[in-house]
């Protein structure tokens, strides 16, 4: 399994039950991205990894909270730690499929990722700096589930400057925006806490977007696209 497997084009081996669950998720109907914020469920996600290298580092945990009809549903949140392999024994574990790390805390990756998909449903995703979260999650899904995730993502790192052009030069990191809007965060640097902070920022974005008659995920995506273009040329 994992990256070495996919490197050579091997599909990871899933149990019958796991295949069934994956198929069930794939069969879910897509959601309407043009639905108003007040009638939608978005999932705001944040990940923790072993490092910042998109190619080499691995996914450690996923934290996610759902924004349902514009409100963060505390009970509708998700957190999972993926079972880690000791780096030195990577190859060994790849061959055997069962490592000593199986005793370590954390869910087996395939199980963890299936649980994430089932939690996610087909709700569109939101993150701050999507590239990082998307790459990590997509790679893990491909490695452990053989799934090529094609899912809508919205990047608040572009949406926020798009809504507030004058602030765009000053505020860059998630912390900058959170600080600017006085969102008090009681804990950070845990995937769930950061997802919650990002979700609160999304609520602020919703409220500001409404003033500009932007009322759906699809319209926010348009705003993001425009802002990406602006950032690229400026």
């Amino acid at each position: 399994m994992s990256w070495l497997g996919s490197w050579f084009g091997h599909k990871p081996k899933l149990g019958a039950d796991q295949q069934h669950r994956l198929a069930a998720w794939q069969a879910l109907p897509p959601v309407e991205l043009k639905a108003p914020v007040g009638e939608s469920r978005y999932v705001v996600v944040d990940v923790e990894t072993t490092g910042l290298n998109l190619m080499q580092d691995r996914l450690i945990s996923i934290g996610a909270v759902a924004v349902v009809n514009g409100r963060i549903a505390l009970g509708d949140s998700f957190y999972v730690v993926l079972q880690q392999r000791a780096a030195s024994e990577k190859d060994n574990i790849l061959l055997h499929g069962i490592g000593t790390s199986a005793q370590l805390e954390g869910e087996a990756p395939a199980e963890a990722l299936l649980a994430f998909l089932e939690y996610l449903g087909k709700s569109p995703l939101v993150a701050f700096h999507v590239t990082f979260d998307e790459t990590m999650i997509k790679r893990a899904l491909r490695d452990y589930l053989g799934l090529n995730l094609k899912h809508p993502w919205l990047d608040l790192a572009y949406v926020m400057p798009g809504l507030h052009p004058p602030l765009a030069r000053k505020l860059r990191a998630l912390d900058d925006w959170i600080g600017h809007f006085n969102i008090r965060i009681d804990a950070r640097h845990n995937a769930l806490a950061d997802a919650l902070a990002t979700a609160q920022l999304l609520q602020v974005a919703h409220s500001h977007a409404a003033e500009k008659d932007i009322a759906s995920y699809a319209e926010l995506q348009d705003l993001e696209k425009a802002q990406r273009w602006v950032s690229a040329v400026s």
């Binding site: 505390l74 009970g75 963890a112 994430f116 939690y119 008090r184 009681d186 769930l192």
Partner: protein, 633 residues
């Protein structure tokens, strides 16, 4: 893998009532909650939206409750809610629309629980149900427990010098045989960390005592051989008392003979040891002793001691969490006793006692003393009513009484009641008047209505007799009740005046503050209640001066529901608790009683007290709204 972040849990359980709920119930609630965001000025709940559909807890920001203009008489007045506070409880419980508009005062985040889940939670959690239905009473109870917990360390054990020694002896005495070596005895004392050693015979009868104090004189300096029997260096002159003897007998024995230990002996056998240290904790004088001491005091020095005892006792009662109503009554009762004794002594000293002049004189307490609401830093407010004997005129009587009154005021000042800066004292010729003169003065105030008259009325109309010819005060009171209740113009002006002093709304950071960011508990907190109660009392012809009694007694005549009165009384008492506690803390930091102030920094209050205080101010505003309604202001 569904997850509530620990920080959410930590936040919510920091606040009442969630801090007292079972964890499982808090989790149950959190799982059903959502987090909403509202921008500044956005309406969160309003009467127009029908029955309230959710219960809200503020996570961050400020929410304003605005009185519905169309229903200005509605009980819900202005309020401000902060982080951790819940709303709108009343409307949710009654399943009705809110009476006020709740609006985001800043950008806010709120936890929200659907109404159906709210009702289920009320069924699940007794602590939550209790909080929602009893609210203020509950917060107060909660606060009281915290206060008591804070003070429990300093109030050790409530014993008095009247307890028997058997109740004071803490453990079996450490003893040795008379032939034990000095060295061994000292080792035992060191190991057991005790200050004395008693040698006993085989039957447990004490033979001698050695204390650490003796080591220097009896062992070290004479360079005694440490292998000698310990009895050789022991003191054989033993002070013994039976277990039934009282602590003060032991204290007396120690004081008389200069010993630090008393042996408690039962049937000849050593039963225990009481040291001077054991009695330190008991050096509090009981109420009875203070009273007796004051009553029989015959010099200003003894009275000063009595005044100091009253204060010490008040601090100690405060520490025990005695309710403020009882505490202020206690302080007033003892100050009365003290003042009466001062008046009596000075009358005696000036040869006034036994003369018709003295028999026709009544010493009156005014202001807070008149209302039985004294705290530790009350300055003097007093006056004299007298009758004019045959063959004299009022000025002649006054000329005789004023020097005595001056001495009384000065002695009271020595006892810790500062002279009144406004000269509202019996030694002021303006306030040493015959009954007829008082009636004339009061009449002028009532018909005049100048700011000065209104101010005087607010001080003098709380008069009561403290010493002497009580019937004069009763006469004046009866007359005033009749005259004032008939004069609606005067009461209207009093009400208007009282409404100039608005309790803080709770704005910007919680409270509207004067300079120095301090809140004046007396002016902003107590005075609105006192003023309104006075007006209600005068209007209803109530002859009591105490604010709480005035409120309770006028309920029927004013057609105010008793639950509303209770809420006002609770609020007033809470502010009084904070005030007394503030005084207590200042004293503990070494402030003299004359340096005590009523200014607190709301930032330093704990979150619970801040909330209750805000609720108390809300009650003060409700009371004022009632006053305004009554007098069409």
């Amino acid at each position: 893998m569904s997850a509530i972040h620990p920080s959410e849990f930590a936040f919510i359980t920091k606040h009442a009532p969630f801090d007292r709920m079972e964890l499982a119930h808090v989790m149950w609630m959190l799982e059903r909650m959502s987090l909403g965001y509202y921008t500044e000025g956005e309406v969160i709940v309003s009467p127009e939206r029908g029955a309230v559909d959710r219960f809200l807890v503020i996570k961050q920001g400020v929410v304003h409750g605005e009185q519905n203009v169309a229903k200005a008489s509605d009980a819900d007045t202005w309020l401000e809610l902060m982080e951790g506070e819940c709303f709108p409880l009343g409307a949710l419980l009654a399943n009705r629309p809110v009476a006020s508009v709740y609006r985001a005062g800043t950008d806010i985040f709120c936890y929200e629980l659907p109404a159906a889940d709210f009702r289920e939670l009320i069924g699940l959690s007794a602590a939550f149900r209790d909080f929602c239905t009893r609210r203020i009473a509950n917060l107060l109870e909660h606060s009281k427990q915290i206060i008591q917990a804070q003070y429990s360390q300093s109030s050790v054990e409530q014993q008095s010098l009247a307890s028997p020694l058997s109740a004071i002896v803490r453990r079996a005495p450490v003893t040795c045989a008379p032939e034990t070596s000095i060295r061994r005895a000292l080792e035992i004392m060191r190991d057991q960390r005790i200050g004395s050693m008693v040698a006993v015979d085989e039957d447990g009868r004490p033979l001698g005592i050695m204390t650490l104090h003796d080591v220097l004189d009896r062992i070290a300096i004479p360079q005694i051989d440490l292998d000698q029997p310990v009895l050789e260096v022991m003191s054989m002159q033993l002070n013994t008392l039976p277990p039934q003897a009282l602590a003060h007998e032991a204290a007396l024995m120690m004081a008389k003979h200069g010993f630090r230990h008393v042996l408690v002996v039962e049937n000849g056998k050593l039963a225990g040891l009481v040291s001077e240290k054991d009695l330190f904790a008991l050096q509090r004088v009981g109420l009875r002793q203070i009273g007796t001491a004051i009553r029989s005091a015959d010099t200003p020095q003894v009275l000063q001691q009595g005044a100091a005892d009253i204060r010490r006792m008040a601090h100690s009662m405060m520490a025990q969490g005695v309710a403020p109503e009882q505490l202020t009554q206690f302080i007033s009762a003892f100050n009365d006793l003290l003042t009466a004794r001062v008046v009596e002594l000075e009358c005696k000293a000036s040869g006034l006692i036994g003369t018709p002049l003295c028999e026709g004189m009544c010493w009156m307490a005014l202001g807070s003393e008149g209302r039985f609401e004294q705290t530790l830093n009350t300055d003097q407010d007093n006056a004299i009513i007298f009758t004019v004997p045959e063959g004299m005129d009022a000025d002649q009587v006054r000329a005789k009484l004023l020097p005595v009154a001056r001495r009384i005021n000065e002695t009271l000042a020595l006892c810790g009641f500062p002279l009144c800066k406004g000269e509202i004292m019996a030694s002021n010729p303006k306030w040493c008047l015959s009954l007829e003169e008082w009636k004339r003065t009061f009449s002028n105030w009532i018909s005049g209505g100048s700011p000065e008259s209104l101010l005087n009325a607010s001080i003098f109309f709380d008069f009561r007799a403290l010493y002497g010819a009580q019937h004069l005060a009763d006469d004046l009171r009866g007359w005033l009740a009749h005259v004032a209740s008939d004069n609606s113009r005067f009461l209207h002006m009093m009400a208007e005046n009282a409404l100039h002093n608005r309790p803080p709304l709770g704005v910007v950071r919680d409270f509207v503050l004067g300079k120095e960011n301090k809140l004046d508990l007396k002016l902003n907190g107590i005075t609105p209640f006192v003023d309104a109660a006075r007006i209600f009392g005068l209007a209803a012809g109530v002859t009591q001066t105490n604010t709480i009694q005035r409120l309770r007694l006028c309920a029927d005549k004013m057609n105010i529901h008793i639950s509303e009165i209770d809420a006002w009384v609770d609020a007033l008492l809470f502010i009084q608790v904070l005030r007394l506690r503030h005084h207590d803390e200042e004293s503990a930091q070494g402030a003299g009683d004359d340096a005590l102030d009523n200014l607190i920094d709301p930032e330093k209050l704990n979150e619970l007290d801040r909330r209750i205080l805000k609720e108390a101010f809300r009650q003060a505003r409700k009371l004022q709204a009632r006053l305004a309604l009554e007098y069409h202001l």
